[in-house]
Subunit: 213 residues, 2 copies
DNA sequence: TCAGGCCTTCGACTTTGGTCTGATTGTGGC
DNA sequence: GCCACAATCAGACCAAAGTCGAAGGCCTGA
């Protein structure tokens, strides 16, 4: 990493964001710290600063749609280590986060010391490599074959956007979007847009919860 | 309130806790601030300091069991104003928080300025009445208007079935299914099958809702 | 430098989705 | 009986979704 470490903190809760920023600021006094509160801001920040040493990414952010956002950022910036920060404790979420290319996973209920320690470990190159070994044909694996633009299209499909809207938001023709959709459906192994949305959304974070037998 | 305001911050996330504490410390330089990370610690702190001016209470804490913890604290210390802090944005949760005796409700995604402002308002005796009086037009309410057969159609839509498959499974014609779909979309207030599936599936996912009266 | 592969883009075409009009049948309540 | 509504379907029609083939740009290895 560079002599001056650079961080990007992405969380829509100002409290959490500030806490992380100040903690990292103290631990790395010379660090350059940027913040973002939406997926769009994250993308913009990474475009400006592609050499970012670590991205601390909250999963419950506007536009993230859970882990699909991780995959999207991963495909756009394969070099930037992503440290997923989430309140979710479910092992399934953690595992999927690694499958989608996260370098580390931090539970929000961890202490600031632990968090700083994890960040330092990532900076030192200790990429907690995805213990990928099983060749199980999971949906996540199929999804990993998507190109950056295809991820963008899928992210908008998941929000319920129609091809025309997607085309407008991405600044391309509707025919192009349709072509992407066709490829996406084939790569995901489904037969319709609705099925793709269902599968992809099941990757998103189930918002904490429930108890009560 | 006393000349020196006293706060109790209850949250099991160190990040959030520290952020709140420092924000309140800056806004009220002379304030006395205590923290707690479990319901038991909150109870102990309130027993020691029954004159606390404001309790900032996270809902997702060990032992809280959602809003029941609010009611418990309320009955033990009726004088202490409770400010519920939660990531939950659901109107139902907010409404119930007030029903259980909360003085204010703060969304975790609010800015620190807003939070400090809310705390100050509570200190001044402004009990925030639920601004939620409008007949909240929730998706669940709209969904309740569906007829039995429309539910069956929707259930199959949610599984990713196409109109033709649905018609076959229900033993009716495709035209009939289309007619049902049209009504379903209108009743749910969405514009496409995909959006209907997204909304309906998010409904099935358990939300932080203590029930069981 | 050129061939091959991949991403992205798009137009033309086919299929599915969704609306509208209008109609028939059955059910339950007032 | 009458009314309201659920359920069924047909046919026409427009919009959205999805497929196919093809072109240009970019990178990589021979």
């Amino acid at each position: 990493m560079a002599a001056v470490p650079s961080f990007l903190i992405a969380d829509d809760h100002p409290m959490v964001r500030d806490a992380l920023a100040s903690a990292l600021g103290q631990a790395f006094p010379s660090a350059q710290i940027a913040v973002a509160s939406t997926l769009a801001q994250v993308q913009a920040a990474l475009d400006r600063e592609p050499e970012t040493d670590a991205l601390l990414l909250d999963l419950d952010m506007p536009g993230m749609d859970g882990l699909t956002g991780v995959a999207l950022l991963r495909s756009e910036h394969p070099i930037v280590p992503i440290i997923v920060v989430s309140a979710a404790r479910e092992p399934a979420v953690v595992r999927r986060a690694y499958e989608f290319g996260a370098s580390a996973y931090i539970d929000k209920s961890a202490s600031l010391e632990e968090i700083v320690g994890t960040v330092a470990a990532v900076l030192d190159g200790e990429i907690f490599a995805p213990p990928e070994s099983e060749p199980t044909d999971t949906f996540s694996q199929r999804a990993a074959q998507l190109t950056p633009q295809q991820w963008r299209v899928l992210a908008l499909m998941i929000q319920g956007d129609q091809n025309k809207q997607i085309a407008h938001k991405l600044g391309v023709g509707e025919a192009t979007v349709k072509a992407h959709v066709t490829v996406i459906l084939r790569k995901l192994g489904v037969r319709s847009r609705t099925q793709a949305v269902i599968e992809a959304r099941s990757l998103a974070i189930p918002v904490a919860e429930p108890v009560r037998p």
